[in-house]
Symmetry: none
Subunit: 279 residues, 2 copies
């Protein structure tokens, strides 16, 4: 039974102070969901004990139980991602595929909270201004690296993939100079090569861009530009490249949009870009 249903049910027996509290709850449910009993009470100028008693009266075991219910109803259930998943569940009865798609959509929906156009544009400029671009992607990230490499090369940029073992990569990296850029993809754990690589990049005066998952902000040393967002799936489980690939794609589109030198100069909307872009 929902919080509001319970309120309705108990409506007749509510005291004036309790009505005040309920009124406050209905007016600002999201605030109250995050507040303590005393906070709610002081908002309407009654004693916290009254709030505690209200929770009981509505059938909750404690004020915490009451607040949890409010949180579920007004925060968790109104989460955009959860809504999408519910919608999908209704259409196709929860099989693996629908579940997977739901998670992907959920993660994509959350993406703009972590990456915005300003960051993308900055990174895009760096890549456009770079003389040469080195791509670093190991392990799970490899497929993404392949894709990035491909797209950048298609834009007419000089791209080098850092493949092979540490020694091979080191040799390739020796060629790096000021004016070059590194774009790396990192998920799960920080690769052994990461720290020395970024140190080297900084030392020679090149720029670094990292596309990452949840680990992004924990990476050390920091890159010049960090584009990260959580991937879909639970932390240690089956995670996909959908979100980071979306970041990479957006980055490429941002480059196309930023590129004042190129043929795409005055195109602004994605629709126009798409029409002109050799995908």
């Amino acid at each position: 039974m929902s919080v509001l249903e319970r309120v309705q049910q108990a409506a007749e027996t509510l005291t004036p102070s309790e009505r005040q509290l309920v009124k406050q709850l209905i007016a600002n449910p999201r605030d109250i969901a995050l507040a303590t009993a005393s906070e709610l009470a002081s908002r309407v100028g009654v004693h916290e004990a009254t709030a505690s008693r209200l929770a009981r009266k509505l059938g909750y075991p404690s004020y915490s139980g009451f607040r949890n219910a409010i949180q579920q109803e007004f925060i968790v259930k109104t989460d955009p991602a959860v809504r999408v998943r519910n919608t999908l569940d209704q259409t196709t009865s929860g099989d693996l595929l629908a579940d997977l798609i739901g998670r992907e959509i959920e993660a994509l929906t959350a993406l703009p909270r972590y990456v915005d156009m300003a960051r993308l544009s900055e990174a895009a400029r760096v890549l456009l201004d770079a003389r040469r671009i080195f791509v670093f992607a190991r392990g799970n990230a490899e497929a993404l690296g392949v894709q990035v490499e491909r797209r950048l090369r298609r834009m007419g940029l000089q791209v080098f993939a850092l493949r092979g073992d540490a020694r091979d990569s080191a040799e390739q990296v020796l060629a790096m100079e000021k004016g070059d850029a590194l774009i790396g993809c990192v998920f799960r754990r920080q690769p052994k090569l990461y720290a020395p690589l970024l140190d080297h990049v900084r030392a020679v005066g090149a720029k670094s861009i990292i596309i990452a998952g949840s680990i992004g902000p924990s990476l050390a040393p920091k890159s010049d530009h960090l584009l990260f967002a959580p991937r879909s799936g639970s932390q240690e489980g089956f995670q996909t490249l959908t979100v980071p690939m979306a970041i990479a794609n957006a980055l490429v589109l941002a480059m196309a949009a930023e590129d004042k030198r190129g043929a795409l100069e005055k195109l602004e909307t994605l629709g126009q870009l798409i029409a002109a872009f050799e995908g």
Copy 2:
């Protein structure tokens, strides 16, 4: 300063346990915003004291202060009213990122109309029963091929990637026998190699599975199993691998679910699979 900025700033000094906590926070910010220190700690299996210390390290006066900041950033700021404004801003300013994400979601939502669990399960069975698996992916599809190869290999299967030019591939394919399987990825145009390759597969009595875009039904000769769905973006424009990658991921999950021989035998929901799967 935002929570994530503080994390970045302190990134270098974070301990392994603290990184775990941060990762969890980034993956489920809204849950953590509503949880207590002990709850966050137990999610990643560390002591609540560690969570408390993390809050301090990030510059908050207490764990409550930390949690308040999280709530402000991930709940209050995404309040429906605020969100509507953001959405408007995005659409009016032709935000590339939001536009891209919208298209991806649209395409993903349509996926179940083209691929269902029955088809996926059939294909999964073929791969599980195959003695060896050959992966064919050229051009745009290459990144997807890399990913498929990786995932199948991780499941303990014998996988061979058909790389190099036509001659190289031909030589590799000569080894194919009855009981083997081919999984191919095809978008845009039918590759030169496609027809002879599939003829050969059929001739030796092996099975073929193709993951494709809109071109799927037009491919000739037909594969034994065809998994196709339109990709996001307009027909000839900037198309992404999101949808075909979702198909591939679903296929891998279906294999895990089908695998009666393996350790994953009785897992049914994606949640359980995820918990057990080394992604």
